[in-house]
Amino acid sequence: MDNNATSRVADEVIQEMMPYFTESYGNASSMHSFGGVLRHKIDRAREQVAELLGCETEEIVFSSGGTESDNTAIRGVLESFPDRRHIVTTRVEHPAVRTTCRLLQRKGYRLTELVVDSKGQINLDELREVVTNETALVTIMYANNETGVIFPVEEIAGIVKGAGSVFHCDAVQAAGKLPVDLKKTPIDLLSLSGHKLHGPKGVGVLYIRKGTRFAPQMVGGHQEFGKRAGTENVAGIIGVGKACELASKCMKEDNKRVKELRDRLEGKLLEKCPDARVNGDRRNRLPNTTNISFEYIEGEAILLQLDRLGICASSGSACTSGSLEPSHVLRAMGVPFTAVHGSIRFSLSRYNSQEEIEYVILKMPPIITYLRSLSPFSAEHDATVKSPEDRKQELSLD
């Protein structure tokens, strides 16, 4: 139940990919039919992706994954607009975007990171204010990986285009989970990753709208319309193509089912576990994601207990990351440290069953109760255990 981290490769995808690891290992650029026939397979994959995104095949560039797509999009656009030195993003982006932007800030770019409210949402008026004709690029995610909160990309795209800037959207979590129609939404560049939508790891997509000024970041070959040099990852591309085809076909039905499962899981956990709260806007989220904070206990301890029962989830707790720093997303939302430490994310997929959900609903509340029974803190004496210093520290930490 940790599908926002990675997802199971669909059987249909593996079937499609297999021959291209074995007998059909050619290079699609070769001047012989052994390799040359693969060109058609890659073209087909491009069609499958274009269909999912509602765009044209020539606008699809295959990459090595979401991180490369994000890096390439940001750098490729900036290089094309040498006179514009301003980047706009948010505080809750994935590190692939966040780190790239901050690195560029170091290189002299002016960086605006939009704040989010307690629901994890940005303020569009603030965006309107900061985007000017100096702005080279606005990069904002489609949906957040930790909370599932969906950003109003149509409005964002409208504002950015109105101001004459370029809009890149990291849709790694949204692609395959939300209907994306690039004919309607004027996003200029969009990233997606194969392994988040039941495709293979090591392959992703960068959509570049026709007419978007973009400087290739990987050069030394004519592949991908000259926008991303390097011999094609044939099997991977075929895999992500198939995964996109499946997503186009199953999304509506999958979402309905997954949302029901998620809502049941979330509802039951909140019902059975006191002092628990959902992080992020509950009405405007990916259908598969729930991020719940359990007060007075720590996330890693919860994950270890769940892991022993074969349940996979993730946490924004500091202890799970190896640093003392908890989730930047939850902190940006102003979630108190006490609740960040005990945050757990479940992210479902079409491969989760009702039985699995019932199993978690059955097993999780006793874990929470049990860990709380070990804890010196509880709701009853919350007011007394926190000394004024503690309270002060909590405030200053936000």
Binding site: G299, E300, E325, H328, P376, L397
Partner: protein, 289 residues
């Protein structure tokens, strides 16, 4: 995922002596919700000052709970005089070892025990009194506590101190104070890192660097190896000066306010400079004013 020993897992999944001893003779509380872990220890003594019953309550990760459980098993039936001699390393050893970055969990155990014993002797019912001067204000760690972990565990770097008692894991402003304590307490011993062979090779190379070359190499290393990583945490750093083997840097941007940048600094900055420039470099932070 952390690589916990079977013993850690056993004590996490089956913690011994959980709860509160009624009419306890000694109560010790350390940590807080904001810090991410906290431990409350209570015990009752026999007539001959032997710990008859001891229980704990812990808020924290798996290793924090396991370390608390291990502590109670170690000191049960010991006299107070014997219990006082228990170190955090004893707790870690009892568990078959803890990941380095989780050593602070064992230190929390020892501190709670000390606080409880103190409470028994002085009759103080309030939280443990701070002994000494607070060095790390982010996590409220005093010089006495830092000295204790440095001495008991033969620590040689600020990074290790952070792993053991969290001091320096916040804003990083106390790193030079921690280094001073390490220098003061430190007995002549071979440093844990780098390994002697590497040290010989790189310091030989370092000797051939002129000051200018060294500073340039430090700048280049910070640019290429450190800044991208620091910027992942929303900050930046500036090289202020190089005095002998001491590299003085200042945190900028988000790092200057970030309460955990210091951890990253010890983990990333010093490690990289030692790897790419010279193994004997020590990174100190100048607080931005």
């Amino acid at each position: 995922m952390w690589d916990y020993t079977e013993k850690v897992k056993d004590h996490f999944f089956h913690p011994r002596n959980v709860g509160l001893v009624e009419e306890a003779d000694g109560v010790g509380e350390v940590g807080s919700l904001a810090c991410g872990d906290a431990l409350k220890l209570t015990f009752k003594l026999d007539d001959d000052e032997r710990i008859r019953e001891i229980k704990f309550q812990t808020f924290g990760c798996g290793s924090a709970i396991a370390a608390s459980s291990a502590l109670t098993e170690i000191v049960k039936n010991k006299t107070l005089a014997e219990a006082e001699k228990v170190t955090n390393q004893d707790i870690a050893d009892y568990l078959g070892g803890l990941p380095e970055q989780k050593m602070h969990c064992s230190v929390m155990g020892r501190e709670a025990l000390q606080a409880a014993i103190e409470n028994y002797r002085t009759g103080e019912t309030s939280k443990r009194e701070l002994e000494g001067e607070v060095i790390c204000s982010c996590f409220g760690v005093t010089d006495k506590e830092i000295e204790a972990v440095v001495r008991e565990n033969n620590l040689t770097t600020v990074e290790q101190v952070t792993n053991y008692c969290k001091a320096g894991g916040g804003c990083g402003g106390c790193h030079s104070d921690i280094q001073d304590i390490i220098d003061r307490v430190g007995r002549p011993m071979s440093p844990v890192t780098p390994k002697p062979a590497e040290a010989a090779v790189t310091s030989a190379a370092a000797r051939q660097l002129t000051n200018i070359q060294k500073i340039r190499l430090i700048e280049q290393t910070l640019d290429e190896q450190v800044r991208p990583a620091l910027q992942a945490d929303g900050g930046d750093l500036e090289l202020i000066d190089v005095v002998g083997n001491r590299v003085i840097v200042a945190l900028r941007g988000m790092c200057a306010q970030c309460q955990v940048a210091g951890f990253t600094m010890a983990e990333v900055v010093e490690k990289k400079l030692r790897e790419f420039v010279s193994s004997d470099l020590v990174v100190l932070e100048e607080k931005d004013t």
